[in-house]
Symmetry: C2
Subunit: 525 residues, 2 copies
């Protein structure tokens, strides 16, 4: 079988490769037949040159045109749903149904269509007009966007179809997709559909390009290249920080989603009221998708007492009884094993699980660990390291004050959640803990688990470092996620006919939201 | 005379200093009498601890309370206007009038009052409400902000009174001001007034803190400390990039304003129409404040021809005839000398000036250099290096295409400007050149010089790297400049009574602009 082609400058062609790799079926541990190339710098250079050209061309496209592409792509994904789901299942072992067919694929097309609507509407760019001084500004495309997709969402965060892709394109930028190495086939099929949609709707040939893998050195060179506008990265903290350092050196905005343990605090009043519900919610949130979510609840803070002991015993039962899922890859399994080992070395005790196996293919037993509040505070950095997968650490604090101390030792996280009594019994504790937690997380939840990440204009899938690279931006939620891939462009005394349509006196659609002299309005100037 | 005190945790006290320094009067080259301390890490540590405490307290303050502080501070500045102007003139040699008394001081109080209005109004934080899913988000304070002010604006960009200071405070953050070493006395007086205003209006004691100088090592440690929310830096590219690298390592947003040559393109039709006006505008823009503006026009692109030769001759006359101003410091003089030397080494020819002296105190002759378009393209990096001061490089291109090529070789800049014929004679050239220039600059101007930076909601005083550290943010223009010092905070399913007032169903002021289900409105939910 010939090595799979890459997509550069509108053509599927052979890579300039240094070597090849194959993906694996995680459920059988068997390598899949297709060979994919590891590109050399020549491929990266070609992609950058073509992307620069495409970026210049895309700047003059209307939002309608970009929207037509995104909509056409969504329709093509639906047209090839069965193939996509089958392939993604083969490469990731995520369930055909409900996960891939009923959950992730509709989420992906929904995101693309929301991005299309945002591109068409244009209000995401926050046009701002100062009529007295004739100064006007708007967000404009930032330039070619490199997308590094994660292993855990083969559709919805895929580098050629996911949230970063949709946001980058809707903001007017071409994308160079770097496939996640655990699902190159799914990514290739997505890129095929995207490229076909781009051709049909008249977008530049290099709107979407695809490479599979490079050396680490070429990866760092790529993210720091001055032709790159920005980078969207979701993946491991170690690799992400290396790429971020390279991008930072040349001032390339690096939007990273690196790691998060998503602390959940369960207060006594909540346990009293909704013991069973919370036990079920937590177990299902933690084990769903074999725990392989960015917002998996990996750290639970409880207050010491008999009710908490009973709750922990119930969780142990549930974790024991629940089927053990298949992990996304052997690498995830090894890293989970290592993560649990380092938690126990740091003083945590295994309550259940703690060993590989128990499921089909690559798997690891559903695992709960426990540590006292005092134990956590002895080694807070090691005990908050993410162990990605079906695992969680329960921290039993002696007091609300100790719980607050524990939260104050946390690094930045995507989410933080507090369960509390509905009639106010936990209110003083909530007040103290929420004040600490609020500053540590991008999204604060009440009385629900963090694993649902709604595609809402008010969503923040982001948070303080090291959860992400900048606490002001979100990777999910349209139109906010588009703003990552834009630069602020001001027009000072520029003649009316030379202004972008969105900044001319007449509101181009009559529906565009603009801030005119301090007021948001859809009226003409 | 005892060493001057620093302001830490609400007290003026002796520094833990390793050494002292004195400022200089640039007009006499005489050192000024006061001694200022170079702080050791102990002072930084104390400032960080106090700032963390203040940040936590400030989170619960209303916008009204913060506004009262900013307004009181502005009034105090006006009350001490004569002292401030006298001291700043002594330390910077900028003219008492019009510059300091009539220009910069009113600009500074105006900025503080605009920031107060923004804090009071609250709309800067872009409250966003999804009523269907009960997800709500808003920008909240990012944490203690370190401000490194530049040498060239002792009031309006002063670390204890300028644009970054006002934006950081209005967004709800305490400030640790690091004085510019060329005007420590002015900064100390500003910090005294700010601190008095903070005490009178009941803000936390460490709302404003002041240190003067640290070792480079401690500076890097300071910007990378995890207690720091963000950094605002305006200054030299070399020092800024070192600090940025330190901040990047721990994910601290580093908003830098580093360097900019602010290209100005003058097309033949414009010269034909407004030869004298443009010559006057350019000379005055370039020599005003002895050329020491971030937006000083340091690179002019002209098209070869007899009219251009005549224009250049006129500029030479004007630069020869204009008085030579005093530079801000001996350091600025040395760096200008070095900058001009490296431009000539790179192939530029001196038309006028090119040597130190000619004015009072530290000075350098008004200087124009020239290079051909082909010459520029041989060495574009060296020939676009900023030589901060009363200097500009004229690049004479052979054709519009060559001019476009020249612009395409530029790094990121704060501003870019094109002068063109008012009746359309230059339109094809404009179209080509503006498309290239737009992507290189934060603010694109037509038919006017870049040195005026209006405090407008639509202003962008920012731009692609290395002009700044991130192309999505502006350092001037309220409320946009506040958004640099904020994190996105999402509330998912959080009970109504626990939400910040701005996100509750009822619009707290009836005037707060919020995005509710995709519409901007001031109504209640």
């Amino acid at each position: 079988m010939p090595t799979q082609p890459i997509l550069i400058a509108g053509s599927w062609r052979s890579a300039n490769s240094s070597a090849t790799f194959r993906a694996e079926n995680p459920a059988t541990k068997e390598p899949l037949p297709e060979e994919y190339p590891i590109s050399t710098w020549a491929d990266c250079e070609a992609a950058l040159a073509a992307a620069s050209q495409a970026a210049a061309e895309m700047r003059s496209l209307s939002g309608d045109k970009i929207a037509a592409f995104l909509d056409a792509f969504a329709a093509k994904i639906e047209g090839r749903k069965d193939d996509l789901v089958k392939l993604a299942n083969l490469e990731t072992a995520l369930s055909v149904s409900p996960r891939l067919a009923d959950g992730e694929l509709p989420r992906t097309t929904n995101q693309l269509r929301q991005a299309a609507a945002a591109a068409k509407d244009g209000s995401w760019a926050a046009p701002t007009i100062d009529t007295k001084q004739n100064i006007r500004s708007i967000l404009e495309p930032i330039g070619p966007v490199l997308v590094f997709g994660p292993n855990n969402f083969p559709f919805a965060f895929n580098s050629a179809s996911g949230g970063d892709f949709a946001a980058a394109i809707a903001a007017g930028n071409p994308v160079i997709a770097k496939a996640n190495t655990s699902h190159p086939g799914t990514t290739k099929l997505m890129a095929e559909l995207a490229h076909a949609a781009a051709q049909e709707t008249g977008l530049p040939p290099a709107t979407v390009q695809l490479i599979y893998r490079t050396s680490h050195e070429d990866g760092e060179r790529l993210v720091s290249d001055l032709r790159v506008g920005a980078i969207g990265y979701t993946g491991s903290r170690h690799a992400g920080l290396k790429l971020k350092a390279a991008a930072d050196k040349t001032g390339r905005p690096f939007y990273a989603e690196l790691s998060s343990v998503n602390p959940v605090v369960i207060l006594p009043g909540a346990l009293e009221e909704k013991f069973d519900d919370i036990a079920t919610q937590f177990s299902s949130s933690c084990l769903m998708g074999t725990g392989q979510f960015c917002t998996n609840p990996g750290l639970v803070v409880l207050l010491a007492g008999p009710q908490t002991e009973k709750f922990i015993a119930t969780l142990v039962e549930k974790f024991t009884a629940a089927p053990v899922g298949t992990l996304l890859s052997g690498g995830v399994g090894k890293s989970l094993e290592k993560g649990v080992a380092s938690l126990t070395q740091a003083g945590a005790q295994i309550l259940v699980g703690g060993k590989p196996g128990g499921g089909k293919g690559h798997s690891y037993a559903n695992t709960l660990l426990r540590v006292s509040g005092a134990g956590f505070l002895k080694n807070p950095i090691a005990l908050q390291a993410e162990a990605f997968g079906n695992e969680s650490l329960l921290v039993v604090a002696e007091s609300v004050e100790q719980a607050a101390h524990i939260l104050s030792e946390l690094e930045g996280n995507l989410t933080g959640c507090i369960y509390s009594h509905t009639q106010g019994a936990d209110d003083p504790a909530y007040k103290l803990l929420a004040a600490v937690l609020r500053q540590k997380v991008g999204r604060l939840l009440n009385d629900k688990m963090p694993t649902g990440v709604a595609v809402s204009p008010a969503m923040n899938h982001g948070g303080p470092f090291p959860a992400t690279g900048h606490p002001g931006f979100t990777a999910v939620g349209i139109p906010a996620s588009l703003r990552r891939f834009a630069m602020l462009a001001c027009y000072d005394g520029v003649r009316q006919s030379r202004l972008p349509a969105a900044l001319q006196d007449k509101n181009p659609s009559g529906k565009l939201w603009r801030q005119v002299d301090g007021e948001w309005t859809t009226r003409d100037v």
